[in-house]
């Protein structure tokens, strides 16, 4: 009945107009015919105007529910005043996109206002945790870390090696779908300067399931709406590196990643206390999302907060493997041959079956072109690469700490 009323209300005016035109024409009453024509014309203009308003309103409504809005579920920036000029708009956009690390570079920080500097510092503090400089033991077999205490003898016995690490900021959470959406919408896949020249040929394959540029399991250039705060997966190592460049960060080295999780304490020369898991020496199901936790898929990045590291970094263990800048299988094990050159991944994922393969020490490898559903990433930025005004860490006069391998300093 309501529908009938709607139809009558919509078509009454043009119908009456038409009837008047026909009557006026047939009865030779031009005034009546003209009246009908005017009614029909008014109705037509009204409909056109209304249609236009609806289209505008719809677009506005769509833009308000865009998944890119509030892209970072973790870094909530304070409300801001309306930007005044182009440079301010640009800075504001960068803050909105989570590219605060770029703004805090010594070369750029002088060009932003005090308000913007404070916002960028707040975003850094909320989004990243400081991992202090120091030593970390890598390459150890599981049994070496059963009680967490290590000495030089054990390090040699269990094929370990000591690496000096500079202070570094590491993302508190893995990069989420919403954060990666900013990169996609910001034209990250079209900006060739972000990508290694060698990989340009393969970039045509970096598309989602519907052929749009983006992570492999997205559709039409967007992530699944309920997964905004899940870690982004289905991205190759090269896509992770491009994202890192876009937001002014870099991939963490294996040593930085491991140090942030096992939080080593140097007890004295040649003596360390180092954790197997970020929370201690034994695996506990409620602290990380691996196979035995029973989820069977990724979970939002702020879940499993009980598995947080000492420094406040979440989900280092479980949920998704994380790309690092290092290569897998170099040097340590000469008997190993890889079918393809591999990049190092760490931390285990929701489908990792054995707990001993989800420790801070465990390293696995994957082809840098792989775009798997259980591999994501988090980013780092060297503390000395940011202005000391933001970090509170003074630049060393002589920088004499040498990383373990040349590979680990490459992006």
């Amino acid at each position: 009945m309501t529908r009938l009323r709607e139809i009558i209300a919509r078509w009454l005016v043009p119908a009456v107009g038409l009837v008047l035109i026909v009557l006026g024409w047939s009865l030779s009453l031009p005034a009546v015919a003209w009246l009908g024509a005017v009614a029909a014309a008014v109705w037509l203009v009204y409909r056109l105007l209304r249609k236009r308003r609806e289209v505008r309103g719809g677009a506005k409504a769509r833009s308000t529910v865009k998944p890119s809005q509030g892209a970072s579920p973790i870094v909530q920036l304070p409300s801001r005043k309306r930007p005044r000029d182009e440079s301010e708009i640009l800075v504001q956009d960068m803050l909105d996109q989570g590219r605060y690390a770029l703004l805090l570079r010594p070369q750029i920080v002088e060009n932003i206002t005090e308000d913007q500097f404070r916002l960028a510092c707040k975003a850094l503090e909320d989004g990243m945790a400081l991992v202090p400089s120091g030593q970390v033991v890598l390459g150890l077999r599981d049994e070496a870390l059963d009680d967490g205490r290590l000495d030089e003898h054990q390090v040699n016995k269990y094929d370990g090696y000591v690496v000096e690490v500079d202070a570094v900021f590491l993302d508190r959470y893995p990069v989420t779908n919403a954060q990666f959406q900013q990169f996609v919408e910001g034209g990250g896949y079209e900006e060739l300067a972000l990508w290694d020249e060698d990989i340009l040929a393969a970039m045509l394959d970096f598309v989602d399931s519907t052929g749009y540029p983006g992570p492999r399991f997205w559709r039409n250039g967007h992530f699944e709406s309920r997964k905004a705060d899940h870690p982004v997966v289905g991205v190759s190592w090269y896509e992770a590196v491009a994202f890192a460049r876009w937001c002014g960060k870099r991939m963490a080295t294996d040593a930085e990643w491991t140090k942030s999780g096992c939080w080593p304490v140097t007890l004295g020369p040649g003596n360390w206390l180092q954790r197997k898991f970020p929370w201690g020496q034994a695996f506990e199901e409620h602290r990380a999302n691996i196979w035995s936790s029973g989820w069977g898929t990724t979970v939002p990045v702020h879940q499993f907060s009980e598995g947080m590291s000492v420094g406040g970094i979440h989900q280092l263990i479980g949920n998704v493997w994380e790309w690092t800048s290092g290569s897998y299988g170099r040097g340590e094990d000469a008997s190993l041959t890889l079918p393809v050159p591999m990049k190092s991944i760490r931390g285990g994922a929701f489908d990792t079956y054995f707990e001993n393969q989800a420790t801070c020490q465990f390293q696995s490898g994957e082809s840098p072109l792989s775009r798997k559903r259980n591999i994501g990433f988090r980013l780092a930025v060297g503390a000395f690469d940011l202005t000391s005004r933001a970090t509170g860490i003074a630049q060393p006069e002589v920088h004499d700490q040498v990383p373990a391998t040349a590979e680990e300093v490459t992006l």
Binding site: W291, T337, L338, D351, Y353, Q357, N374
Partner: protein
């Protein structure tokens, strides 16, 4: 003043020897204390368990070429099901039933695949377990042998060289055939041909119309699928493309079949071991699609006859 002493009642023992215990797999007679059947080398523990617990377990055969991943699949399956209650719950019957999962899990957790199953039937691992599922009101008793791929091929090429294989296949209530998806993708047709041989062998093994393969499930499992994404996305299409012969034969002769994709290792590398060829090793273990084929097989099992 009398000093007691224990004398074995040899007459009682002899009486036991005179009664033959039939092997559960081949029905051949054996002495009561035999460890393996003297005819087919199947463990006699299966027969003893069946007699004492008054159950008639159904046999599920797992077939495939050498290196297709039968041991890893079965070992992982049993380990996973013993650690969870849904969708299936598995309770091992007898300590020997746990050996396979123990051996597999120990190797995989240390970054290695379990050693190749020897060809000698008396060294195979057998699993006897009770399976609780949503499909059957009462628990289903199942026996699954881990047979060597080379022995299966030998029996198919030269019938009666391995009586246990023929006996298992004659009695089995369902079959899982494992096919190496990596080799298929690489264009090697041996997997296709071997599977066609097995299917042909199975369809001709049972001439009795009542026990034909019309109501027995056949699961075709594409293993190592984690190394080829397209296989996981659509196993049926992958099989049609890369193993057309197998798919055709299965489609024509076996009304109850389904194609699955599984993977255990997220990535693999090769290790050179002194005195050996290079050996494939897993870089991490992340099982996918392991339970689904077994779940489907259990769901399609018919109640045991007699």
């Amino acid at each position: 003043m009398n000093r007691g002493c224990d004398l074995p009642m040899d007459s009682y023992r002899l009486a036991h020897y005179s009664v033959q215990v039939p092997c559960y797999v081949c029905d051949g007679g054996n002495t009561f204390d035999a460890e393996h059947c003297r005819h087919c080398f199947a463990p006699m523990a299966l027969a003893h368990q069946s007699n004492t617990q008054k159950v008639r377990p159904q046999i599920l055969a797992v077939l495939g070429t050498s290196g297709a991943g039968k041991t890893v699949y079965l070992g992982m399956l049993m380990d996973m099901l013993s650690r969870q209650t849904k969708p299936l719950q598995v309770l091992a019957r007898g300590a020997f039933s746990i050996s396979l999962q123990q051996r597999t899990a120990a190797a995989l957790s240390q970054g290695d695949f379990p050693a190749k199953t020897p060809n000698e039937p008396d060294r195979w691992n057998w699993v006897h377990c009770q399976v609780r599922s949503k499909y059957h009101r009462r628990p289903v008793e199942v026996i699954v042998p881990d047979m060597a791929g080379e022995a299966v091929l030998e029996e198919i090429e030269h019938p009666r060289s391995y009586p246990v294989i023929r006996a298992v296949l004659s009695k089995c209530a369902g079959v899982a055939i494992l096919i190496d998806a990596m080799r298929l993708q690489a264009g090697q047709h041996d997997q296709d041909h071997f599977t066609m041989k097995i299917l042909s062998f199975l369809s001709e093994l049972e001439r009795d119309a009542k026990r034909s393969w019309t109501d027995r499930p056949v699961a075709l499992i594409l293993t190592k699928s984690d190394q080829c994404d397209r296989c996981f996305d659509d196993p049926e299409a992958f099989a049609k493309t890369h193993a057309a012969g197998m798919w055709q034969q299965c489609h024509e002769r076996f009304p109850q079949y389904k194609i699955f994709a599984t993977g255990v290792a997220g990535a693999c590398a090769f290790r050179h071991v002194l005195g050996e060829n290079r050996r494939r090793i897993p870089l991490r273990i992340e099982p996918h699609g392991i339970v689904e084929p077994f779940d489907w097989l259990i769901g399609n099992l018919r109640p045991p006859r007699g």
